[in-house]
C-alpha cells in the first residue's frame, strides 16, 4: 500500500444491497418465495411529506382548551336504516380470528368500545369474544366466506364486502397450518393443520354489475338496516370508488399499500398497489364527480400512525381512517420487552413480521395457548384506547390551529408538500410555491 498505488474502500452495490443479496441466498436455498405479514416496508411518499400551514391573517385559529373541535362521524347514511355514529374518525381495520389470537381480538374490541369507535372481523368469521366486547362491530364479507352465516350478518352493526386490501390487491388470503388450531379449523370448515388458501375472487359474483346485485341481496337479508361498506385495495382508486358507489355502497374503505396483511408473498406486498397518499385524491375526485362526497363516506387506511396522519387524510377528503398495524403495536406487537425471544427467532423487535408462523412472542399473531396468554385483553384494550385518544387529541390540535371546529372541515388548502412527488399525489402545492404538479398542465 503506497502513495503510488492507493486503495479504494470496499464498495457495496446500491442495486444488490445486503437485503437483496440475503433474499437471493434464501431463495436459492429453499426454492420458495418469502412469505411474511405486515405491509410495504419500502419507503414511499407518505403523510410525512405533507405539512399543515396553520392559521394566519387570513385564517384565525380556535382556542385549544376552550373551543370545541368535533370528531364524530356518521357512516352509512346513504341507504342503511341504521347508520352508525362513531365518536372518533379512527376505526379498527379487519383482522381475522385465526391470524390473531382470541385475546388480541377481544382487546381490539375493548379498546374500540372504550373509544366510541368500531372494530372489524376478518377472514375467519365472527367470534363471541369480539362480538361481546365490541359495541360497534363491522362484519367482513370475504371471498372465502369462512364462518359466514345470516345470524352473524344480522347481529353485525355494518357489513364490509372485501374486494381487496392494500397489501395485496388481487391476492387471496393465506393461513399456514401452524395456525389452524381446532377452533380455527372448525370456524373455517377445514381440516386441522393444512395450509389454508383463501380465494382472491368472490365465488358468486364478478364485476360491478354483479356486485350491485350482491349488495341488494345482503340488504334484503338484513332488512336494509345495516350500512354496507365496500373495501378496495389501492389499485385503481378513481374507478374502483366510482364503481363501488354505482353498485350501491354506503361506505368505501380504501387501503393503500402500507396496509398490513396476516401473510402473503413479500414480492406481492412490495410491488403491487399504490401508496396510501396516492390513492386518496383520486377516490375523493370520484366521489365529487358523482356528487357523492360526504354522502358515501370514505375510510382510508394503510400507514396511519398518529393524529397528524389522521388530520392529513381527512384534509384530503376522507371521512375517517382505519388502523391495523398501529393498533397491534398498541396492544404490544413488536415490543422490545420480548427482544430476547425475537433474537431467537432470528429477528429483532420492530422488524418481526413472520406472523404466519404463529410464534409471536407478544401473543398477538398466534394460536399458541402459552404465547397468547401473554395478552391481557383488558390491559391491552386500555392501551389501545389510550393510543386512540392521543391520536384524536393530536388531530384536534392541528384542526384548531387551522381554525376548524370539526375535523371534517380540514381541507387540501390547509396543506403543502415537501416533495414534488407528494405534491403531485396529494394535489397540494409544493411548499413555498403555488405549484401543484400535474394541475393546469403544469
Amino acid at each position: 500500500m503506497t502513495y503510488q498505488n492507493p486503495p479504494t474502500i470496499p464498495r457495496k452495490s446500491a442495486t444488490f444491497d445486503d437485503y437483496t443479496l440475503s433474499e437471493i441466498r434464501r431463495a436459492a436455498a429453499t426454492g420458495i418465495y418469502d412469505i411474511r405479514g405486515s405491509g410495504a416496508k419500502r419507503k414511499v411518499p407518505h403523510f410525512d411529506d405533507l405539512l399543515f400551514l396553520g392559521a394566519s391573517i387570513s385564517r384565525y385559529p380556535l382556542e385549544g382548551y376552550r373551543e370545541k373541535c368535533d370528531t364524530t362521524v356518521v357512516l352509512g347514511s346513504r341507504y342503511a336504516k341504521k347508520p352508525i355514529t362513531l365518536k372518533i374518525p379512527i376505526t379498527i381495520a379487519g383482522m381475522s380470528f385465526g391470524s390473531l389470537s382470541a385475546p388480541a381480538k377481544e382487546a381490539l374490541g375493548r379498546g374500540a368500545t372504550l373509544s366510541g369507535t368500531s372494530t372489524t372481523t376478518g377472514d375467519g368469521g365472527m367470534t363471541e369474544e369480539e362480538r361481546g366486547h365490541s359495541e360497534t362491530l363491522v362484519y367482513q364479507y370475504l371471498p372465502s366466506r369462512y364462518g359466514m352465516n345470516p345470524r352473524d350478518l344480522r347481529r353485525a352493526d355494518a357489513i364490509e364486502i372485501v374486494v381487496g386490501q392494500g397489501a395485496k390487491p388481487g391476492g387471496g388470503g393465506m393461513l399456514l397450518g401452524q395456525k389452524i388450531s381446532d377452533r380455527v379449523a372448525e370456524m373455517r370448515t377445514l381440516p386441522k393443520g393444512i395450509d389454508q388458501r383463501s380465494a382472491c375472487r368472490h365465488p358468486d359474483w364478478t364485476g360491478p354489475d354483479d356486485l350491485e346485485i350482491k349488495i341488494l341481496e345482503i340488504r334484503e337479508i338484513t332488512d336494509w338496516e345495516k350500512p354496507i361498506y365496500v373495501k378496495i385495495g389501492g389499485a385503481r382508486p378513481y374507478y374502483d370508488t366510482a364503481l363501488a358507489v354505482k353498485a350501491g355502497a354506503d361506505v368505501v374503505v380504501l387501503d393503500g399499500m402500507q396496509g398490513g396483511t396476516a401473510a402473503t408473498q413479500e414480492v406481492f406486498i412490495e410491488n403491487v398497489g399504490q401508496p396510501t397518499l396516492a390513492c386518496i385524491r383520486p377516490a375523493v375526485q370520484a366521489l365529487q364527480d358523482l356528487g357523492m362526497h360526504r354522502k358515501v363516506q370514505l375510510i382510508v387506511s394503510g400507514g396511519i400512525r398518529n393524529g397528524a396522519d389522521v388530520a392529513k387524510a381527512l384534509a384530503l377528503g376522507a371521512d375517517a381512517v382505519s388502523i391495523g398495524t398501529a393498533a397491534l403495536v398498541a396492544l404490544g406487537d413488536n415490543d422490545p420487552r420480548w427482544e430476547d425471544e425475537y433474537q431467537k427467532l432470528g429477528t429483532t423487535a420492530g422488524a418481526y413480521d413472520d406472523w404466519h408462523e404463529g410464534k409471536d412472542p407478544a401473543g398477538i399473531t398466534t394460536q399458541d395457548p402459552v404465547l397468547m396468554s401473554r395478552v391481557d385483553p383488558i390491559a391491552a384494550g386500555r392501551r389501545l384506547a389510550n393510543y386512540l385518544k392521543v391520536m384524536t387529541l393530536e388531530a384536534q390540535t392541528i384542526a384548531r390551529a387551522c381554525g376548524k371546529n370539526h375535523l371534517h372541515n380540514l381541507e387540501p388548502e390547509d396543506l403543502c408538500a415537501l416533495t414534488l412527488e407528494a405534491a403531485a399525489m396529494a394535489g397540494v402545492p409544493l411548499a413555498g410555491t403555488n405549484w401543484i404538479p400535474g394541475k393546469n398542465n403544469s
Binding site: T30, P150, L190, A199, P203, D204, L216, R219
Partner: protein, 246 residues
C-alpha cells in the same frame, strides 16, 4: 337502484290454510322478503306463493323459519340465498348463485340453474332438476347438492365439505383444489382439477348416496352407477415440488 316498484301491495290469502300469494309484478321485493322474515315460531301462515318473478334477483333470501315458498316462474340471482329451514321451490329456472351460503332447509329448482349454484352453502339440500352451469357448489362448506342433469366447468372448486351428486356429466376441472367435499358423478367427467381424483366407492358412500338420491326424489338410479371423486390431499401443505399444479 333496487326496489323501485311502489305499486300497491298485491298480497292475497284465500283461506287461513292457503298460501299467501305475492305478485312481484305489483308488490315490491322488499315487502315479500320482509313478510318471509316476519314469520313467528308457531305461526300458521307458513306457506307462501310468489307469482310473476320475471327474473327478479334476491327472491326469498334470508328465510329463517320452516316455511314453504313456491316461486311460479324463473328467478334471477341469489334466489334462496342464506336460506335457513325454509323449503323453496322454483317452478322455473334460477339465475346465478341460487341457494348461495344456505344453512339448512331445501331448495328445489324445477328447471336449470346458472353459475355458482349452492356457492359456499353450509347445509341443507339443493336439488336442481335440470342442468347446472359452471362453478356449481363452488367453495361448498357442508351443503348437499343433487343435479339431475349435467354440471359445467370448475364445479366444486375449493369444496370444503358436503356432497355434490350429478346424474349426468361434469365439465372441465371438476373439484379443482378440493378439500373434503365428496363428489359423485354418474356420467362422464371432462377433466379433473388440481388435486381431485377418482376414489373407491365404499359401502358408507353407497349408503350416503342412496340417502341423498332418496331425499332428492330420484328414482330408478342406483348408487353403484356413480364414481366418487375427492381430494388427493397432496396440496394440503405447500411443497415446492407441487408448484406446477397451481
Amino acid at each position: 337502484m333496487h326496489t323501485t316498484n311502489l305499486a300497491t301491495a298485491a298480497i292475497s290469502r284465500e283461506s287461513d290454510h292457503s298460501p299467501a300469494k305475492y305478485d312481484l309484478a305489483r308488490t315490491p321485493l322488499r315487502e315479500l322478503n320482509q313478510a318471509l322474515h316476519n314469520v313467528q315460531p308457531g305461526s300458521n301462515g307458513t306457506a307462501f306463493e310468489v307469482i310473476n318473478p320475471k327474473g327478479s334477483h334476491a327472491v326469498a333470501v334470508g328465510v329463517n323459519a320452516p316455511i314453504t315458498v313456491d316461486v311460479r316462474g324463473s328467478v334471477g340471482y341469489y334466489c334462496g340465498g342464506m336460506n335457513s329451514e325454509g323449503t323453496i321451490t322454483v317452478h322455473g329456472s334460477a339465475g346465478p348463485g341460487v341457494g348461495e351460503n344456505m344453512m339448512s332447509g331445501t331448495i328445489i329448482v324445477k328447471g336449470d340453474a346458472s353459475q355458482y349454484a349452492g356457492a359456499t352453502g353450509r347445509g341443507g339440500l339443493l336439488v336442481i332438476e335440470g342442468n347446472a352451469s359452471s362453478r356449481c357448489g363452488i367453495s361448498m362448506k357442508g351443503i348437499d347438492i343433487v343435479v339431475h342433469g349435467n354440471i359445467g366447468h370448475m364445479s366444486a372448486f375449493m369444496g370444503q365439505s358436503g356432497h355434490l351428486v350429478v346424474l349426468g356429466d361434469a365439465g372441465d376441472a371438476l373439484g379443482d383444489s378440493i378439500y373434503e367435499a365428496k363428489l359423485f358423478v354418474r356420467g362422464k367427467v371432462k377433466s379433473l382439477g388440481a388435486d381431485c381424483i377418482a376414489k373407491e366407492m365404499r359401502p358408507e358412500h353407497i349408503a350416503k348416496l342412496q340417502e341423498l338420491l332418496d331425499r332428492a326424489g330420484v328414482k330408478d338410479v342406483k348408487p353403484e352407477e356413480f364414481t366418487r371423486y375427492g381430494s388427493a390431499r397432496t396440496l394440503y401443505n405447500f411443497n415446492i415440488d407441487n408448484a406446477a399444479a397451481y
